[in-house]
């Protein structure tokens, strides 16, 4: 199953418009809800593209035009260069995975049969159907032996959602369309499903178009984010970091939220920020020497470490005796420890909790690697920050990210940031 | 067919015990009595079951039983009993033939639709409204009278309509036992061979007209009792996926809970 990027297709919207014949839309020139207005964007193969925006902004309509549940009024949608409108309808739909919010599992069929729906439509042999069902149930984290013969009414919401994803994946489609797939469960389950899905995507690498109204979900899940505004107009299309760091319009800035700075923090990790060296000493070292060296630290603190370089605590310069040795009772173990994969948001949060300016960065073994300061975080934040381009509407959709090269990688692995957080046990 | 027109044109058919008006009266009398008794029994029980939601399975089962018994059968089963009890209870045996069995059958068969409709009607009232009423301090009886009944009235009248049609139809067949009602025209005609044909058809037309007339009247009543906001939906009336009748098994389509016989 790994390395299946050849199974992913490129999806391109080419000046796609959808108009409805509502009287207000035509006469007053005001856009109708659900309409889409001259949408052009390209989703590269194997990437997750989030369509996000307020209700009535056309994101779901755009999604449904890919599998032609809604037909565009103008423009075309190209899948691997081929106009979807020219393909035979049921053949097209059977080649696209489709997950909706209410899931829509068939209550009269077993879970196994539900999952095998599209392969069965495609005429796969019976043995292969069963095999594939079980494979997929396992992939989404459900024990096939336990779930295969059950009926949807016997499953919980979260379990049903997983079956929905399995069903969409069954025929190994190159594209998946997901319409608020995790909307119908509670936040805890949703979080888990999101993380597992991102992990799954690492193996299957399909092209995914994902609709949500939740900007946090968009930032977390997307490789690329398309922000829509009412009237079906694309307000901005770019990486999550672009959207946060350089919103293309006031609408985007407002939609993303006042806290977009903090949101960016969750996309960056400790490894993105230069660490300060720590002035260290071990118990038994000369106090006088330590006291002299402590002056090198901007805050004039000494970090006491043990034989394995693990931190024991801080001693202020003024508290270090002029003579004798450093003892184990001197240090004050105040600062939180983080590692290089911790998100800046979590790190900052911990430091604020402890009411200190500095966090200690340690490696897997717990050994000190350096210091992370609030000041360094602030500097990093200011690096990517730009005033939004409010005036030029022509620049919509084409706003370029001016973020530095150091920020591209965390983007595409936005999900991995949360991956790390899981390993920390902080999620 | 002109035999029928002559039949209606003949003034003799409009006077006396065998005249149309009298037969109509007989028909209506026994029907009204049965409905009255049935309502007196079914309504209180239905209100209780509907309001408290206790014993609903009993209600549904009763409806099933009532639906299943053919009215013709229902009429004749008590016959031996009503006839033989005449000396014991002191009534005229003919009463035990031409009134009691039919009356018992009609009453018994009218109860299920009324009961089910009352229950379903009360159940269809939005629970939030009832809770609001309780919260405002209304007592149970007031909730029933001021909130539930008005909102349920349309469905309850629907059940009443079903029961009435049932009763009218049963009274028609009852004429085979009794000496009265519009059904008599049909049976008298059957007994007269070819000459009786106009009577048969006339009787059929009269009965059909009565049934349709009553149904239309009650339908109007039902519409008038529906809150204005729901009227359009009721007219178009296609039951939606989450319609007021969370369909159990046709028992809550009260209008279809009885047979036209």
């Amino acid at each position: 199953m790994a390395g299946q990027s050849h199974q992913a297709a490129v999806v391109e919207f080419d000046h796609v418009t959808k108009r409805y014949d509502a009287p207000t839309g035509k006469e007053s020139g005001k856009p109708t809800p659900g309409a889409v207005n001259d949408l052009s964007l390209t989703v590269p193969a194997g990437k997750i593209c989030i369509l996000v925006g307020p209700s009535g902004c056309g994101k779901t309509t755009s999604l449904k035009m890919v599998n032609r549940l809604i037909e565009p009024t103008q423009g075309r949608i190209l899948i691997d260069g081929v106009d979807a409108g020219t393909r035979e309808l049921t053949e097209l739909r059977r080649s696209i995975g489709y997950v909706i919010q209410q899931i829509g599992l068939f209550p009269h069929q077993t879970i196994g049969d539900n999952v095998a729906t599209v392969p069965r439509l495609l005429g796969w042999p019976k043995a292969r159907l069963r095999e594939r069902s079980e494979e997929l149930l396992a992939i989404v984290g459900l024990d096939p032996a336990k779930y295969r013969d059950r009926y949807p009414s016997q499953l919980s919401g979260g379990e049903r959602q997983r079956v929905g994803v399995a069903r969409a994946l069954a025929a190994d489609p190159p594209i998946m369309l997901m319409d608020e797939p995790f909307g119908a469960v509670d936040p805890i389950v949703r979080d888990r499903l999101q993380n597992e899905f991102l992990r799954l995507q690492e193996t299957i690498a399909k092209t995914i178009l994902f609709v949500t109204h939740d900007i946090d979900e968009a930032i977390k899940m997307g490789d690329l984010v398309a922000v829509f505004q009412t009237g079906g107009i694309l307000a901005q299309f770019g990486s999550p970091l672009d959207i946060l760091a350089a919103p293309a319009s006031e609408f985007v800035a407002r939609f993303v939220g006042q806290d977009r700075g903090l949101k960016r923090l969750s996309l960056l990790r400790v490894s993105d920020v230069p660490l300060q060296p720590a002035v260290t000493a071990r118990p038994g070292d000369s106090a006088a020497d330590a006291r002299r060296r402590a002056l090198d630290d901007p805050q004039r603190y000494l970090l006491v470490i043990d034989a394995n370089n693990r931190p024991l605590g801080w001693v202020a310069h003024g508290d270090i005796p002029a003579e004798g040795t450093i003892t184990e009772t001197m240090p004050n173990p105040v600062s939180p420890t983080v590692n290089k994969r911790t998100t800046l948001k979590d790190a900052l949060s911990m430091m604020l909790d402890a009411d200190v300016q500095t966090g200690i960065v340690v490696d897997r073994a717990g050994a000190v690697q350096g210091l992370l300061t609030v000041a360094a975080i602030a500097t990093k934040m200011r690096e990517g920050e730009h005033a939004p381009a409010f005036d030029d509407l022509g620049a919509l959709g084409e706003a370029e990210s001016e973020a530095g090269p150091g920020e591209i990688d965390p983007n595409l692995d936005a999900g991995a940031a949360d991956q790390a957080a899981i390993e920390q046990g902080t999620v | 067919m002109d035999g029928v027109i002559d039949f209606f044109a003949d003034p003799a058919h409009w006077t006396g015990t065998t005249g149309i008006p009298n037969r109509l009266l007989e028909h209506l009398t026994i029907s009204a009595l049965s409905i009255l008794f049935a309502t007196a029994i079914a309504l209180p029980i239905g209100l209780y079951i509907g309001h408290t939601n206790r014993g609903s399975s009993l209600a549904i089962n009763l409806a099933n039983i009532g639906r299943a018994i053919p009215s013709y059968a229902m009429m004749v089963i008590p016959l031996p009993l009503t006839l033989s009890l005449a000396p014991v209870l002191g009534y005229d045996p003919t009463f035990g033939l031409d009134f009691l069995p039919i009356f018992l059958a009609m009453t018994f068969l009218a109860i299920p639709p009324l009961l089910v409709a009352t229950y379903a009607g009360l159940r269809s009232v939005d629970r939030d409204l009832i809770e609001a009423g309780r919260g405002m301090g209304l007592r149970e009886r007031q909730i029933l009278g001021q909130i539930e009944l008005p909102l349920a009235s349309s469905i309850i009248v629907g059940g009443f309509r079903t029961a009435t049609l049932q009763v009218i139809a049963t009274a028609t067949i009852g004429a085979i036992l009794s000496g009265g009602g519009l059904g008599r025209f049909i049976f008298d005609g059957l007994n007269q061979g070819v000459a009786g044909r106009p009577s048969i058809y006339a009787g059929a037309i009269l009965v059909a007209a009565l049934a349709i007339g009553v149904d239309v009247l009650l339908s109007l009543l039902q519409t008038r009792l529906t809150p204005r906001a729901l009227r359009k939906a009721r007219r178009r009336g296609m039951p939606g996926p989450s319609g007021p009748t969370s369909v159990v098994d046709g028992a809550d389509l009260p209008e279809a809970a009885a047979s036209p016989a």
């Binding site: 909706i100 009269h108 009414s153 | 299943a68 009218i168 279809a256 047979s259």
Partner: protein
């Protein structure tokens, strides 16, 4: 009743078993044919009504009107047209099933949640496949409920047909002859059998529904 008439005479029953059986068979025929016809007609009408909701009102009104007419009147009215052939009985019996079946069939189809239909369409079911593999199975509970009600009703109405004449037979025949001959055994037997038949049909369809819809039995209990 002539004095000395027994209320129920088992010996009569045993000596007339073949003719009694004949009546039962006739009754079943009188029920099965209208029911089958009614199902086919109502199914077609229901599918039309789902596709074109505007037809729902008129169809309900017409079938409802026909339903209102007491059965004896209906049988009597058709007599001049069809005489005493089976048509006189079967046509009204069929129309009586239409209201019940049509309403239940449309309710059944409407009860299928919209999102399931959308999922089916989005996954690539053709219209026909959607109807046969998704809509129909999910509409089954209400469809069977309708057939159940219609069958029980028809059994009852078929008893009335015999009043018109002995050409139709059936259990109603037993009842009518019993009344006319002051013979309680006959009419009680006829009545009892028709009641039993109706109950049997009711139970049969309840069982049938349970068999056809295994998914409704598997409730959340089995987690």
């Amino acid at each position: 009743m002539p004095p000395g008439t027994k209320i129920f005479d088992p010996s009569w029953v045993f000596s007339h078993l073949p003719s009694i059986w004949e009546r039962i068979v006739q009754h079943l025929q009188l029920t099965a044919v209208p029911l089958a016809l009614g199902i086919v007609i109502s199914l077609v009408l229901a599918i039309i009504a789902i596709r074109r909701p505007v037809t729902y009102g008129p169809v309900t009104a017409i079938t409802g009107l026909l339903y209102t007419i007491p059965s004896l009147a209906a049988f009597a009215l058709l007599r001049p047209i069809f005489g005493l052939s089976l048509l006189t009985a079967i046509i009204p019996l069929t129309t009586y099933t239409l209201l019940i079946l049509f309403r239940n069939f449309t309710a059944g189809f409407n009860a299928v949640p919209a999102e399931i239909l959308e999922a089916a369409e989005g996954m690539g079911y053709t219209r026909r496949q959607r109807l046969l593999r998704v809509e129909l199975p999910l509409a089954v509970p209400l469809i069977i409920a309708g057939i159940r009600l219609a069958s029980v009703t028809t059994i009852g109405l078929a008893t009335v047909a015999a009043v018109l004449g002995d050409a139709f037979g059936g259990l109603g025949q037993l009842i009518t002859e019993g009344i006319q001959g002051f013979f309680p055994t006959k009419y009680l037997l006829g009545a009892a059998l028709s009641v039993l038949l109706a109950f049997a049909a009711d139970v049969l369809f309840v069982r049938l529904e349970r068999v056809i819809t295994p998914w409704s039995r598997a409730r959340a209990g089995a987690r």
